[in-house]
């Protein structure tokens, strides 16, 4: 019977997966194989690399000075000299959009990274260890939730305003700091609830029964199974951060001129939306593309690390 059942079970499993049975595989290597075949992954990576290059060396894409205003040609429509036209100050929109990538990408990526690192750490601690640590983290997140992101940003930036002599990184750093401070609690909550869902699973208990250390359990069992919602939300948040930076800049307390960013450009364009919509179109197009690229990358990575989606 045992013999027979063994054979039956072997047959039941169906056709073998293609090749490489002898090579040891792990989730990471399987995920990479999956990603390599995914066109969405390559599209998003290309876009992101493009934006990063744009942020790092804008001179490669244009030799027009983004701060050179030609008032005479203000509101010009796209033409051979100014590909994207000129805005109400007569700035070349193409050059401003290229140069704006730096601030926007920096703010978006840095803020997302900081919120994810802090939020995931806090969420895992609260969810996995529970008890007083959980109460503490939960109450702290409650406190931050009571203050809206924008209000917090206004309060902070008007308390510590920039002046003309502030260094670029300090200006950007302040914006990142204030948004990270008010942005991590939502990630922490999400991670906490996600960890609470994963923790009671028997495979976590099985690892404990085998004598695995808490760090090992968190690293190899809890985190991989709890991260998916955080990946989705944080890539969406990336776009939110870029737009909040724009709002702060619009209020005159975020990035201050001569710093340029997509957010600043969008705010400036709003006043002339009805007569010259192209001023709004190009920076918002770049912003949307950047956010879309990160969301697609997040989706592709999440799917690749979920064996069930293959």
């Amino acid at each position: 019977m045992t013999e027979a059942s063994t054979i039956a079970v072997g047959a039941e499993a169906g056709a073998p997966t293609g090749g490489q049975a002898d090579e040891g595989r792990s989730l990471a290597s399987d995920a990479w194989r999956q990603l390599k075949r995914n066109p969405i992954f390559w599209v998003s990576v290309t876009l992101i690399v493009l934006f990063i290059v744009m942020a790092a060396v804008p001179q490669l894409f244009t030799n027009v000075d983004p701060n050179a205003a030609v008032l005479k040609q203000a509101r010009e429509r796209p033409n051979a000299n100014a590909w994207f036209g000129r805005d109400i100050q007569g700035y070349d929109i193409y050059a401003r959009t290229i140069y704006g990538a730096r601030a926007s990408i920096l703010v978006g990526v840095l803020t997302t990274l900081v919120t994810v690192v802090i939020g995931v750490t806090m969420g895992v601690l609260a969810g996995y260890y529970g008890g007083w640590l959980d109460s503490l983290v939960s109450r702290i997140t409650d406190m931050f939730f009571a203050i809206p992101l924008l209000l917090g940003g206004i309060l902070f930036m008007s308390t510590f305003p920039n002046d003309e002599n502030s260094r670029y990184l300090v200006v950007v750093g302040k914006v990142v700091l204030v948004m990270a401070v008010f942005g991590w609690p939502s990630i922490a909550r999400l991670m906490r609830s996600s960890v609470l869902q994963v923790k009671p699973n028997d495979y976590v208990q099985a690892a404990r029964a085998l004598g695995a250390s808490p760090w090992r359990i968190i690293r190899s069992h809890v985190m991989p199974n709890a991260l998916a919602p955080v990946i989705v939300v944080s890539t969406i948040n990336l776009g939110v951060f870029i737009t909040v930076e724009a709002t702060l800049s619009f209020l005159g307390i975020g990035l201050t001129p001569p710093a340029v960013s997509w957010g600043v450009a969008i705010s400036d364009a709003l006043v002339a939306l009805r007569t010259t919509p192209h001023i709004l179109l190009f920076p918002s197009l770049f912003l949307s593309l950047a956010v879309l690229a990160f969301i697609m990358l997040g989706d592709a990575v999440r799917d690749a690390f979920d064996p069930k989606s293959r």
């Binding site: 072997g10 039941e12 049975a21 040891g24 064996p307």
Partner: protein
């Protein structure tokens, strides 16, 4: 008689119930309340009882996945709850668990190779790094899975196959005791038989001792040498399989056994069914004296006040331990016919 490998003495696990704004403890759920038994080398001890009687908590206590409120477990001469750190980790190699639900007991994001190989990662001295892949494939082979499926993920397997993976992980470190927490109750009947047979085969080959927790009396009877019946956190009756099934003395055991379906339609009519009144009382507020007295047809005043100890009863003709003041053997199942038939089937299987 073989020597005991695991001895539990007066195991108690009370979960506090917190209430009010200040989260003060307002009571205790008495999940396990004074359970003692011995597990002998190479035997299978079945633990049966209905849902919520503390079977699974008992299993978790024996694994030290929970700290007991009081009581002790001596494993192979070592007091389990006194061990710390490295010593405890070493002890864990010898006592492993197979879980009930094969769908939550395997990490969905790990390959079978990683899952079965994890014990070797945690205890690297068991198998040298080079031999691990081979060791994992040997284990898969041993539990009746195709060793070539080492790179597959759990969702690519059926319930029965997943349970085999769980068993392979459980026996990877070559433990002395395997605690099986309802290992077949989530599987359909034909697959149950395969898994139970696999476990019997492994017991013969590896000399394992099993604690087999289940609510299916027929499965427990098939695999167990001795059986313990639990009710509301206490052991009601404990003895050899034949004694428990053939001469149950505790009214609760008798009622349980009377509910076992009889496959033979000619015998079915002869069987009497004992239908208990009411529900299982809350373990947060268990009845005084004998915990079964609220539902027992034999209950007297004594049962409400005196807690019956688990001892040889009734006096003189006792064959096994029972925790009833008025223990009387009573034949419930047509033991002769049924067990003979079962044995025949069992042998041909």
């Amino acid at each position: 008689m073989a020597e005991a490998i695991l001895t539990a003495t007066d195991l108690v696990k009370h979960y506090p119930i917190k209430g009010g704004v200040l989260r003060r403890t307002v009571g205790h759920v008495k999940a396990v309340d004074g359970v003692s038994f011995e597990l002998l080398k190479g035997e299978t001890l079945g633990i049966v009882g209905e849902s919520g009687c503390g079977k699974s908590t008992l299993g978790r206590l024996l694994m030290r996945l929970e700290e007991p409120t009081s009581g002790s477990v001596v494993f192979d001469g070592v007091d389990m709850y006194a061990q710390r750190g490295r010593a405890m980790r070493k002890l864990r190699r010898d006592i492993q668990i197979v879980f009930q639900d094969p769908y939550t007991s395997l990490n969905p994001r790990k390959t079978v190779g990683d899952i079965v190989g994890e014990p070797f990662d945690i205890h690297p001295d068991v198998v040298p790094k080079k031999g691990r892949r081979k060791a994992v494939q040997d284990l898969l082979d041993l539990v009746g899975l195709n060793p070539e499926h080492i790179n597959r993920y759990p969702h690519q397997f059926s319930g029965g196959q997943r349970q085999r993976i769980g068993i392979a992980r459980g026996i990877a470190l070559n433990p002395k005791v395997l605690i099986c927490d309802e290992p077949v109750s989530a599987l359909d009947v034909s697959v149950q038989a395969q898994v139970v047979n696999l476990m019997e085969k492994l017991q013969d080959e590896l000399g394992l001792s099993y604690i087999f927790i289940a609510h299916d009396l027929s499965v427990v009877r098939h695999i167990s040498d001795r059986v313990g019946v639990m009710y509301l956190g206490k052991m009601a009756e404990l003895g050899e399989e034949d004694d428990i099934y053939g001469r149950p003395t505790h009214p609760y055991t008798q009622a349980l056994l009377s509910a076992v379906p009889v496959p033979d339609p000619t015998l079915r009519d002869k069987k009497e069914q004992i239908v208990l009144k009411g529900d299982v009382p809350s373990p947060a507020n268990p009845p005084s004296g004998c915990r079964f007295h609220t539902r027992c047809w034999k209950a007297q005043d004594k049962c409400k006040t005196d807690i019956p100890l688990l001892e040889m009863r009734p006096d003189g003709v006792a064959t096994h331990l029972s925790a009833c003041h008025f223990a009387q053997p009573r034949e419930i199942i047509e033991t002769v016919d049924v067990s003979d038939q079962q044995d025949e089937v069992g042998n041909t299987v």
